[in-house]
C-alpha cells in the first residue's frame, strides 16, 4: 500500500485503509472500497487530503511474504541431508537470515 494525496487518487484504486471521521472516529468508508469519481468528490468535500491505496505491488508483496514464511518453515526439513556439509550449511544460514529479513521488511510496510 502507499499513502497518496487525494489530488493524485484515481477512480479504480482500492482503499488500503478505512476512512474514518477523525483519527479514532467511526468508519465512513471501508477498507477495500474501490474509488469512484463520486466518492473522490465526496472525500474532497470532506477535507480528506491523504488516503492509503493498495498498490499492484501490494498483491505481489503479499504473495512473496507468504512464500518467505513458508520457505522458512520448511528450511530445516529441506536441508536435513546436508548437516555435515559445511558449504551447504553456510548457504542455509545465509538463506535463513535472508528469509527472516524479508519477512520483517514485509511486516514493516
Amino acid at each position: 500500500m502507499k499513502q497518496i494525496s487525494i489530488a493524485l487518487a484515481q477512480p479504480g484504486m482500492i482503499l488500503a485503509k478505512p476512512i474514518k471521521r477523525g483519527s479514532d472516529g467511526p468508519v465512513l468508508i471501508g477498507e477495500g472500497t474501490e474509488l469512484t469519481e463520486a466518492l473522490l468528490e465526496r472525500l474532497d468535500r470532506m477535507g480528506v487530503d491523504m488516503i492509503a491505496v493498495r498498490t499492484v505491488e501490494g498483491a505481489a508483496e503479499a504473495e512473496a511474504a507468504r512464500v518467505f514464511k513458508d520457505r522458512l518453515e520448511r528450511l530445516d526439513h529441506l536441508f536435513r541431508q546436508q548437516a555435515d556439509d559445511r558449504f551447504t550449511t553456510k548457504a542455509k544460514v545465509l538463506i535463513r537470515e535472508y528469509l527472516k529479513r524479508k519477512i520483517a521488511e514485509g511486516e514493516g510496510c
Partner: protein, 276 residues
Amino acid sequence: MGTEEHKRSLLSIRDLPTLPSVLDEITRLVDDPDSSTEQIAHVITRDQALSAKVLKMVNSPIYGFPGRISSVHHALVLLGLNVIRGIIISTTVFEMMIQSMTGLWAHSLGCAMTCTTLAKTAGLKDPEEYAVAGLLHDIGKVVVAVQLPEQVERIEQTVAERDIPYLSAEKEVLGFGHDRINGWLADHWNLPLNLKEGITFHHAPAKAAHYPRMAAVAHLSNFFVHFFEYGESGYDAVPRLESKALELLGFTLADVEKILDKLVVEFDALEDVSFS
C-alpha cells in the same frame, strides 16, 4: 538383475522413447550448408501439434521474452536451433510420462526457468541455451520409468523407507544414477556436447571437462528448485551445494540473495502457466 543388465535394458533401442522424425530431418538440414532457417522452420511447422508446443514453451516465463513470439521461424532466429531441438526432445519424452510424472515435468520446467535466470545473472552468452539443460537434467529418471518400471518402485520404496536421496537409491537399486543415464541418452540422441555435459554432471559440475559452466548452471538450478519445492523430483530435500558451481559462474554466497529476489517473482509467474 545386475548393473550391466540394467544398463542394457535401459538402452534397448526397441523401447527407448523415439524422437520425432522431424529431428532427423532438422539434423540433415543443419548439416547442409545450403539450407536456411526458413527451411528448418518449415519442417517443424508441418507438425502442428509440435509447433504449438514449441511456441507455448518459448512464450513461457522460462525464456522471459517481453513480446510474443508468434512463429516457429521467429523462435528459431531468436533462440537458435539447439534450444528448439531441446524443447522438442524434452516435450516428446515427457509427453509419454505426463500422466504419472507431472511432478517431474514441473520440476524440470522450474529448473529450466532458473537456468535462464542464472545464466543471465552470470552474464553468460546465449542464456536460453542453458534452459535446455534444466529441461533435460532428469530425463534419465523418465527413461528408467519407461524401461524399468518395477525398479522405479524399488527406488521410490528405498527413498521412502530410509529417507535417502533419490540418486543414492538409484545407485543402490540400479548400480548407477540418472546422471549417468543422461550421458548414455545424450550419446544415443546425438545431443550437443555442452548439453551432454550439463545433464551428466549436474550433480558434480567440476567433473565436466569442456562445459563446466553449463553443468554449474544446471547444478545451482536444481538446488534452487528443490529449495522452492516447485514440482517433484522424487525427494524433498535440497542436494548438496557445490561451492565450485558458484565459483564457475563468478558468484559468491552473497549473490544467492539477489538470485532469490528474482526467483521469488519468477516462480510466482510460472505457477500461472499450464503446460499439460
